[in-house]
């Protein structure tokens, strides 16, 4: 379970998020809200990338007090990922695997289903946005984290990849009880994962919406 406790985030004195208390149980959560409502900020805070006031606790591990143990359980993929242009996909995977222990067969499986295997040894600088996006999703899935945060996970993906990623998310959630927090603007994205619960990010806080 992910618990947000008196979480507050401001940028240059302007409060972006102020969440007294909110809980996410295992499952898939779609964060919805207009541009600038704080979806990406919330995801980045939960990923431990942004400082904030208050506390975020996942499975009884506090991000503030046990930053290392917390980070072991969490993975994150950006909406528009950027990686060093000179690195190859394999080098990125090796870097991630040096941080998060994982079975090489899992990586082979993921590169195969995502259709990355034919370009994974080429440098990032030669990839399209969709190719980079697929690799960022692969990296987020490496090591079977318990909490996966994906910002706009389905943008720039082709139709085949859309269904593969949706299936991966659903299966991880079903078999490993992984908690997924995803953000999206598109209704079509949410229809690919009909079991997801919709969370509204608006008026600087979170609220449950009707289940989709």
């Amino acid at each position: 379970m992910l618990q947000l406790d008196h979480v507050k985030k401001s940028f240059s004195g302007r409060i972006v998020l102020e969440i007294p208390s909110f809980q996410f149980h295992s499952g898939i959560y779609w964060l919805k809200g207009p541009n600038g409502s704080g979806k990406t900020t919330l995801l980045r805070m939960v990923a431990g990338l942004l400082p904030f006031e208050g506390n975020i606790i996942f499975n009884d591990v506090s991000l503030q007090r046990q930053p290392l143990a917390y980070r072991r359980m969490v993975s994150w993929a950006e909406a528009e990922p950027l990686y060093p242009l000179f690195l190859t996909g394999n080098e990125l995977v090796a870097l991630y695997r040096s941080i998060r222990k994982t079975d090489p067969r899992d990586v082979d499986y993921l590169t195969g289903v995502l259709g990355i295997d034919n370009y994974i040894d080429s440098p990032v600088g030669t990839w399209s946005a969709g190719m980079t996006k697929k690799v960022s999703l692969l990296l987020a899935f490496i090591g079977s984290p318990s909490l996966v945060l994906l910002d706009e996970p389905l943008i720039t993906l082709d139709e085949n990849a859309l269904s593969v990623v949706s299936e991966l998310i659903a299966r991880r959630c079903r078999e490993m009880q992984t908690l997924f927090m995803l953000s999206s603007h598109q209704e079509a994205d949410m229809s690919l994962l009909p079991t997801g619960e919709e969370i509204l990010v608006q008026d600087q806080t979170l609220s449950h919406a009707v289940s989709i």
Partner: protein, 366 residues
Amino acid sequence: MQYPYKLLFRSIVRPFYRENLSIFFFLFILFFGVEGEVDGAELWQFHYSLVQGMTRQGGYILVVFAAWGWYAWKCGRFVTGLFRRPEYRWIAIYNDLERSRRFRPLLLVSVWLMLPVLLYGMIVAVIGLYEGFVRPILLVGSWLGMLVVLLAGWQLYRLGNLFGRSTLRIRLPFSSYPAVLLRQVVERQWALWLGLKIFACGAVAGIALNNTDDDYDLCFPFLFFNFGILANGILVYGLREFEETYLSFYRGAARSRAQRLAEYALVYFILLLPELIAIVFLAPVHLHFSDGLLFYCCAYGLVLTMHAVTYLRHFSKKEYFLLLVMIFSVQYFFIAGLGLAAMCGCLLGTAVVSFVAGYYGYERVG
């Protein structure tokens, strides 16, 4: 100004001077701020004798030509980097123009990019003419003219091959975070790194070689050496910018602060190896072992501090270089009174405290 040129000026020349402001500042201080009086010579006389040396000695002029060539090459690399950015894709429309209409504005852009060198070249020419050295002046003019034309030609080539891959590709056989940072230096900042090493090692060696048992001076070699180390701030800032742009995910990785600090410490240890080697070569004849150790520890502490303070808050380039000037000023107190051992301890302590306190709390705003 014609519109194609005006647009290129704003897209290439302005970003170039904005990005390299720190290097020009460093060079300006190096040439006009540090030396004060050298062997009794006034500042003007010092530069005058430098230019005289350039026009009289063939070997010296070759070194200067190599430095100017290096500068032109750096300009070319900068333009190549700009053309690769997604926000510069529009520049492909220039390929619809005839070759000569593409070349002319690029030639003007090259003149602007080479302006600092051209101005210095003009000073050399005036002094050379005054001294009656016509042949070296013709050489200087031809070399600079060729560099400007070559730079324009390179830009023209890159414009026609916007999506072509770089010919230089270096792979290191391991993937760890320090290796990624070092690769960034190898692939994108090696010329800067090399320049900094040549200066720091050259300064310490050139001055400390005069030291003998009877006439042993510590302050003057350290002052120049330290200034060369401080100039590594340009490299540090570039690395931090690279990290924040391309490696921001790593902040969320399961690595303790101690591990992260150790990774940065390893990176800077490797980047400062030439200074360590220079000090080892100078010891014990020209630099006592204990002094050499203090030199290196101060250098290492300074570089780690320059890195660690960037986590306390986001500094613009201008703010960061003002901070470096402040650090330099504080160092004077240590040199004047407290001593190098105290400076070393203070720098290492500041680095560790700044890193531990700032790392998780850092965010880049704006």
